[in-house]
């Protein structure tokens, strides 16, 4: 019959149309009930209409989803993990990471960033910075709703805008967090098991962010630091260096 091909095609579309309503009847609550629901894409997709009603519905993102990077600080102590080593800046393909390494009172470079900028207008969300950071300090964030009216200064993220606590990191990337914590505890256990009698050992070039000799009595998870706190942290860093020069193991 002439036209049978067109009719067969139309029947497919009709099937989809009917399936949309049948699928909606089966779901409780309905996808169109309103309110911000989080759609899990790993579930069986709906028959019929496939559209996600953004912004009332949002997709649950895969753990590895990468958007703009974020800098992690320890939630308990407020200490940045970043040591301003610059590997992320070196490995970034569009070179959108700008780091100014901090200096102590005498002008000697210390291992924390004074300024840290990510130009999100250039960032290509490749994740190489997170992949090659040796201190697990920079990771890829999930937040994609960062639209702004002006490029400058809104889309240049500085250190304050990039810092997030480890609790946030653990909530959006649980598997990665769990793996890193397990590896960290293993390393610490290994270190503790090693005999403590090695005084002539050359001190490590950079202090690792794990072991803190004097845990500062700071309130949990401060977002901004007052100048006094910064001075105190610098003094403690100097004290640690003096202690290391004396030959004690950290």
């Amino acid at each position: 019959m002439f036209g049978s091909g067109v009719l067969k095609g139309l029947s497919v579309t009709l099937k989809e149309f009917v399936a949309t309503y049948i699928d909606d009847l089966k779901r409780i609550p309905s996808r169109y009930a309103g309110g911000r629901q989080l759609l899990d894409q790993t579930e069986t997709p709906p028959e019929g209409l496939f559209t996600v009603q953004y912004p009332e519905e949002r997709r649950k993102l895969a753990e590895r989803f990468r958007y703009i990077p974020m800098l992690i600080y320890e939630a308990e102590t407020g200490e940045d993990r970043c040591t301003a080593c610059g590997i992320c800046a070196k490995v970034c393909p569009p070179q959108c990471i700008w780091i100014v390494r901090d200096r102590d009172e005498k002008g000697k470079p210390i291992t924390r960033p004074a300024e840290f900028y990510i130009d999100t207008t250039i960032c290509m969300n490749c994740g190489l910075c997170a992949e090659f950071c040796p201190f697990d300090a920079i990771k890829m964030n999930h937040d994609y709703e960062i639209a702004a009216y002006d490029r400058m200064p809104d889309l240049i993220f500085d250190l304050n805008e990039l810092r997030v606590p480890t609790t946030y990191y653990a909530s959006i990337r649980p598997t990665e967090w769990a793996e890193e914590e397990a590896a960290r505890k293993e390393k610490e256990a290994e270190k503790a098991a090693r005999p403590a009698a090695r005084p002539a050992e050359k001190p490590a070039a950079k202090p690792t962010p794990i072991a803190l000799t004097a845990a500062p009595a700071e309130p949990a998870a401060p977002v901004k630091r007052s100048p006094e706190e910064i001075e105190r942290l610098k003094a403690e860093a100097a004290a640690r260096r003096a202690a290391k020069a004396g030959g004690e193991q950290k």
Binding site: P45, E63, R64, C92, I97, W98, V100, M124, L128, M152
Partner: protein
């Protein structure tokens, strides 16, 4: 052996090269990266190679800017009778005025690529029918891929830039340059005296180049511009069509609207940085692009890829083939006027596969997943189950729906049978590749001709059709989806446990030994090749992408002549171009 004896040995070896008996004086030197050929005898040698030796497929033409000379490199293969690669190299020592004869009279597929070499490197090809700029606009000054060309935002010869760390206070690139924009003007440029260059479409308008036809211009001919902004040109692509009534009598493709200097950026990047940029070439199939580039560099580095990583790579590549073909078929129907319905049916399945990519790589489209020696990260928990559900349960049902929706449709059949025919000999001579080549009756698939990764372990058919028209290209793409599902079933069943990268610590500074490598893969659009020249430094010396859709457009005029202008859209849709790859 002394230097003299080595030199004489090389000279005698070259002189006694078998090709020199037929075309005396052609081969000057036989190096391990190819035969150095004299520019005066190359056309004769090329004709001999094509007709007598069976090298009928000119796969890639590119150029390298060495300090002493320009080198134009031709990679030849055999399509009708499979042959290993034969590389011809022409060294042009006059850097002020590099000229060599064009090989378009021997292989029509060299047309656009020689134009690109002229455009970006400045080598003139004598005898080329249409030697003008292809990727840059006609008024551009300079040849960007030369080593002495500095772009307006130039900072340093190679990344990483010193300005970023340890004293990296952010500065906009626009603020560094005098014009506050990515533009530079040639020295001594006077805006009052400059005349905008006119691109003459005399050829397709039927005006004789030599005599000008006087005032006997054929007035039935009209120039129709299917401009870069058009709903059916698959991106920013422009076709200038000469029509008499509705019949197409000439077609001139104009590309370069999406040219993003991928190869120049590639020379500034380090090797690892380039992987992220290859995602953006054929942006609908990013995993394939990653794979091709990574294979090329692994050839230079001599890395061994672990088994599990090889299987994961094949799974990702075949899933990518499916999503690319779903888009191709969907948008072919969009061009035919079925508006967006088939495209969205295809996009729905693509969404599910992209969710798999997001779970594994972190990004749906710009996956950045392959690394030198393996893949970035292992598959997360539950991934294989979701993939199995797709491959065994959902996709076959969807393909059945697709066939019901599309293949039997009378309108589709009448608009695609016999439209845009390309014979097998023409397809080979025009360097077509991928579904374009196989739909013309040439069963050439790089996965069979030169197997890479572990494709030699899988059972699959090479889909080929004899008709050579748009319907055959659609049919080949649909059949390839079935074959991809077949490979996926084998790969998912055979996926072993194990590491996904070679042993050793993660390196962000990769050491690539000096040398040259060309790796080609059967991408969804055709033969995607990556040509990497290394001089031992952290960044490549020369990096070229053999883009299949760029070269497939060479035959666009041939296919469209004689058809109506409405068919021009359909034929372009069947070529399945992605401008990210055409323009790079």
């Amino acid at each position: 052996m002394t230097a003299e004896t080595i030199a004489t040995a090389q000279a005698t070896a070259a002189a006694s090269h078998p090709y020199n008996e037929v075309v005396p004086g052609a081969v000057l030197e036989a190096t391990k990266t190819g035969l150095v050929v004299s520019p005066d005898r190359i056309v004769e040698l090329a004709r001999y190679l094509r007709d007598e030796q069976g090298y009928d497929y000119c796969s890639m033409v590119t150029s390298i800017d060495w300090p002493q000379y320009f080198e134009v490199v031709y990679y030849l293969y055999g399509a009708a009778t499979p042959k290993d690669a034969l590389v011809l190299r022409v060294r042009l020592t006059d850097k002020a005025n590099p000229v060599m004869p064009s090989l378009t009279s021997v292989w029509r597929g060299a047309d656009f690529q020689e134009r690109e070499v002229y455009d970006l490197m400045g080598v003139r090809f004598e005898g080329h029918p249409n030697l003008r700029r292809i990727l840059l606009w006609e008024g551009f000054e300079g040849h960007p891929l030369r080593k002495d060309y500095k772009e307006p935002y130039f900072e340093e010869e190679s990344k990483p830039f010193k300005s970023r760390h340890p004293d990296g206070a952010h500065q906009w690139a626009e603020d560094r340059v005098p014009w506050k924009d990515n533009v530079s003007y040639p020295v001594g440029w006077d805006p009052d005296l400059w005349r905008s260059p006119e691109v003459q479409y005399r050829r397709i308008m039927g005006v004789d180049e030599a005599t000008g036809n006087g005032d006997g211009l054929r007035t039935e001919r009209i120039l129709v511009n299917m401009g870069p902004q058009h709903p059916s040109t698959h991106g920013v692509f422009r076709m200038v069509i000469a029509v008499e009534g509705e019949n197409v009598v000439g077609l001139e493709p104009e590309m370069g609207y999406l040219h993003r200097c991928h190869e120049k950026i590639g020379e500034r990047n380090t090797y690892i940085m380039n992987i992220a940029f290859t995602d953006r070439l054929d942006y609908v199939s990013s995993m394939s692009n990653n794979l091709g580039y990574v294979l090329a560099v692994e050839k230079l580095m001599g890395l061994q890829v672990p088994e599990r990583a090889e299987y994961i790579r094949v799974i990702m590549a075949e899933l990518t083939r499916i999503i690319s073909h779903l888009i191709a078929v969907g948008f072919l129907f969009n061009d035919l006027g079925a508006y967006f319905t088939p495209a969205l049916y295809g996009m729905r399945e693509r969404e599910l596969i992209l969710d798999l990519f997001e779970a594994a790589a972190g990004s749906r489209m710009m996956c950045n997943y392959m690394r030198f020696g393996g893949v970035m990260a292992d598959l997360p928990a539950g991934w294989v189950e979701r993939a199995r559900n797709l491959v065994w349960n959902r996709l076959p049902k969807v393909m059945e729906d697709f066939e019901n929706l599309l293949s039997g449709n009378e309108i589709f059949q009448s608009r695609t049978h016999g439209v845009g025919v390309l014979t097998a000999a023409e397809a080979i001579n025009y360097s077509m590749s991928g579904p374009m080549l196989r739909a013309s009756g040439v069963p050439y698939d790089v996965r069979r001709a030169e197997p890479y990764s572990i494709y030699d372990r899988f059972e699959f058919d090479v889909c080929s059709r004899p008709e050579g028209d748009v319907w055959a290209r659609f049919r080949v793409r649909m059949d390839e989806i079935y074959q991809s599902l077949r490979i996926l079933k084998q790969a998912l069943d055979g996926l072993p446990e194990g590491p996904i990268m070679p042993p050793g610590k993660k390196q962000y500074q990769v050491r690539v030994p000096a040398g040259e490598a060309y790796a080609r893969i059967e991408g969804p659009k055709g033969e995607l090749g990556f040509f990497v020249v290394s001089d031992g430094k952290p960044n490549p010396y020369r990096y070229h992408v053999r883009a299949p859709t760029f070269i497939n457009l060479t035959s666009l005029e041939k296919m469209t002549l004689g058809h109506k202008i409405a068919d021009a859209v359909v034929i372009l849709g069947a070529v399945d171009i992605v401008l990210g790859e055409v323009d790079r």
